[in-house]
């Protein structure tokens, strides 16, 4: 990007934050751009670009990282099966969950489960929601995974809006 975009209006940013909060609160649900745009009170065309400018990541990618974050917490802190965790965190298939999980974290869900149980109490004095955010999957990895997918020709829908 050769010229920086204009600064965003704080009132718009506050409404974009509301959409991000809604994804945080219910990341297992489906969040098509239309639904998010409605929460923020902006047009669909405006939403994806504004969100990415504000938070550095497209909304769909943000949602995936939140789902993986939540899956990681469930792997560490519960005895739910990996299949149950996949469906509880919003994935339609175990295969997609496992593949996305590996692409984003570099590990398999079962490896995280084994390692996480041992270290589960290290962050015991940090409020749990904040501790989970601190262990959120690295967004740089997610972006590179996205590039790989683009190279494979498996673009996700918001790709077109980003490049427009």
């Amino acid at each position: 990007m050769s010229q920086g975009p204009a600064p965003q209006d704080p009132d718009l940013l506050r409404r974009l934050l509301r959409a991000r909060d809604r994804m945080d609160a219910a990341s297992h649900e489906e969040w098509p751009v239309g639904r998010l745009a409605q929460v923020s009170g902006v047009s669909e065309a405006h939403f994806a670009r504004s969100f990415k400018q504000a938070f550095g990541i497209p909304p769909h990618r943000y949602l995936l990282t939140r789902r993986i974050e939540r899956a990681m917490a469930l792997l560490r802190e519960t005895d739910l099966s990996i299949t149950d965790i996949a469906f509880d965190t919003g994935w339609a298939s175990l295969g997609t969950f496992g593949r996305t999980f590996r692409d984003i974290t570099g590990e398999t869900p079962s490896a995280v489960r084994l390692r996480g149980k041992a270290a589960a109490h290290d962050l015991g004095r940090v409020p749990v929601c904040i501790a989970n955010a601190a262990r959120r999957p690295d967004l740089i990895t997610a972006v590179s995974e996205k590039r790989r997918r683009a190279a494979d020709g498996t673009n996700e829908p918001e790709q077109q809006q980003e490049s427009s």
Binding site: R14, D21, D24, G124, C129, I130
Partner: protein, 135 residues
């Protein structure tokens, strides 16, 4: 207590709005509200915590230049300011009371690790965790 932390400040987009929110919805009290020209020193406090004040400050001239103030307002609105934690006796009761008053909750009460926690934001975008005191 003669020594200790006396005031910690938040940046808010509008001090009148923040005052109404923290007093009428969260249940804090005004401690100090004084104006000097365009500058307003505004602090509130928890009724059970008289030795601590929470400042509600506007990121604005003359304290900040206009460009810095704009940048800070954007950061607050994006929820980028540090986490705040409110300890309550009964998280669900506080959630019900505050929700009825129109507080924007980001997380409903969840029971985990022997306590209950919820999350809310002030109108500016500052995020609070509300955690039930253990035992």
């Amino acid at each position: 207590m003669k020594q200790g932390i006396d005031v910690v400040g938040l940046y808010v987009r509008d001090q009148d709005e923040a005052l109404a929110f923290y007093v009428e919805k969260v249940g804090f009290r005004v401690h100090t509200d004084v104006k000097n020209g365009d500058y307003r020193w505004l602090t509130v406090q928890h009724p059970d915590q008289p030795s601590f004040q929470l400042g509600l400050f506007a990121p604005a001239p003359p304290v900040l230049d206009a460009a810095t103030a704009q940048a800070v307002r954007a950061l607050v609105a994006k929820g980028a300011m540090p986490p705040l934690v409110l300890k309550v006796d009964d998280c669900r009761a506080a959630w019900e009371r505050m929700r009825a008053l129109g507080v924007e909750f980001t997380q409903e009460p969840v029971e985990r690790f022997g306590t209950v926690d919820a999350g809310f934001r002030d109108p500016s975008g500052n995020g609070w965790k509300m955690i039930q005191a253990r035992g």
